[in-house]
Homo-oligomer: 209 residues x 2
C-alpha cells in the first residue's frame, strides 16, 4: 500500500516535471538576433560535417582558417537547425557552403522549397543548378522586375531576412545585415508572401516563347 | 479655503492625467509592420505637401494616380514621422519622392545623416547630389565591397530595413520586403552599426589617389 502510494507520488512528480518542461519550452523567449557582414573568415567544415552525420568524428580540416564564432557560422547554424521545412526566397544564391547546407537538409528529409530570380539563377557560380540536380524544388519569376527578396523560413518558425544575398562576395566583402526573428508578427507575413509567390511561379504558368 | 482645496484637487487630477498619458505613451505596443513590394501605384503629393506645411490646404494634384493606402505610402509615412533624427544607410537612393521627403525633414530641423555606396551614388538619377546640395551630410565607403545595407532609423526608435533600395524600379517593379520595427533588441544593433560606419567613413579617412 505504502509502495503504491510512493509510486503514485513519483508518477505525479514526473508528470509535473514533464509538463513544466513543455511549458518552459513553449514559453522560451523568441530568438532575436542581428548579424552584420562582412563576416570574419572562418572554417565551417566541422559545422557541416556534424550536421551531415551527427555524432560522427569529423576529419580535421587542413585549411588555415580560424574555427571561431562569426556572423557566417551563426547564419549557417540557424539554417542547419531546420528539422521539418525550409522556404528560401533569394535573388542570388552562389555560396558553396550555404548550397551544401541546403542539399544536406534536403537529404536529411527536410522539405526544401526555393524561389529565385530568373535572370540571376543561370549566372556562373549559381547554386540553383546543383539544388535542382539534388532533387530540390525550385521556382523562378518571369517578370521584368527582379525577385529581389533575400529571406528564408526555418520550420515555419524562424525568419532569416535582410540585405544579404547568399553569395561569397556579400558574405566576405559587403556591408550587409541579417535579422533572425521568431516573432510571429514578422514570420507569418513572410510565410504568406512565400506561399503567394510559390503559387504565382508555378511552372504551369511559365510561358515558353 | 474651499476654493484653494478645489484648486489643489484639480491640480492633482491634472498631474495624474498627465502622468497617466506619459505612461500610456511609453507603454504603447511597439510598431511591428511588414511591407511588401511592388507597391500599388499611388499619388503621394498630398502626403508630402501636408508634411511640408502641416494644416495648409494642399493644391489638388492633377495626376491620375489613386490616393489610396499602399506599401509605398506607408513607408513614406513612417519616414515623415521623424521629429528629431534620421539615419539613412542605403546602397542605392534614386526615388524622387523619398529624396523630397528627406530634404523636407532636413528643412524641418530633423538631424539627417546619410551613408551610401561610392559606386552607386554618382549614377544617373541618384538623389545623393540633391541631398548634399540641400546641406545634408553624406558619407560613403572607399571599399572594394558594396555598402549594401538598406536601412533607416527614425528618432533612434524606429528601424526601417529590408531588401528594398530606395529606387523607383524597386518600389514599382521588384519583389521586395521592408520591416518597420520598434523593438529595441533590433533597433539598438542597427544604431550601433550606423555610428560605427559613420566614423569609419569620416571624410578625414578618404584617400585621394
Amino acid at each position: 500500500m505504502r509502495a503504491a502510494r510512493a509510486g503514485l507520488a513519483l508518477a505525479a512528480a514526473l508528470a509535473l516535471a514533464l509538463a513544466l518542461g513543455a511549458w518552459r519550452r513553449r514559453r522560451r523567449r523568441p530568438v532575436r538576433e542581428v548579424l552584420f557582414f562582412p563576416s570574419l573568415p572562418s572554417c565551417t567544415e566541422a559545422l557541416l560535417a556534424e550536421a551531415a552525420e551527427p555524432g560522427a568524428a569529423a576529419l580535421p580540416c587542413p585549411c588555415p582558417l580560424p574555427r571561431g564564432d562569426c556572423s557566417f557560422s551563426r547564419l549557417l547554424r540557424c539554417l542547419l537547425s531546420a528539422r521539418r521545412s525550409l522556404e528560401i526566397c533569394l535573388f542570388a544564391f552562389s555560396s558553396p557552403q550555404l548550397g551544401r547546407a541546403v542539399r544536406l537538409l534536403h537529404r536529411r528529409g527536410v522539405r526544401v522549397r526555393v524561389v529565385t530570380d530568373a535572370q540571376y539563377m543561370g549566372l556562373r557560380g549559381s547554386q540553383i543548378g546543383l539544388l535542382r540536380h539534388a532533387g530540390i524544388q525550385v521556382r523562378h519569376d518571369q517578370e521584368s522586375g527582379f525577385m529581389h527578396h533575400k529571406f528564408a523560413i526555418v520550420d515555419r518558425r524562424m525568419l532569416i531576412t535582410g540585405s544579404l544575398n547568399w553569395t561569397t562576395q556579400a558574405i566576405q566583402n559587403n556591408r550587409e545585415n541579417v535579422l533572425v526573428v521568431e516573432d510571429a508578427e514578422y514570420v507569418k507575413p513572410f510565410l504568406d508572401e512565400f506561399e503567394k509567390i510559390w503559387e504565382e511561379y508555378n511552372p504551369s504558368n511559365y510561358r515558353f516563347f
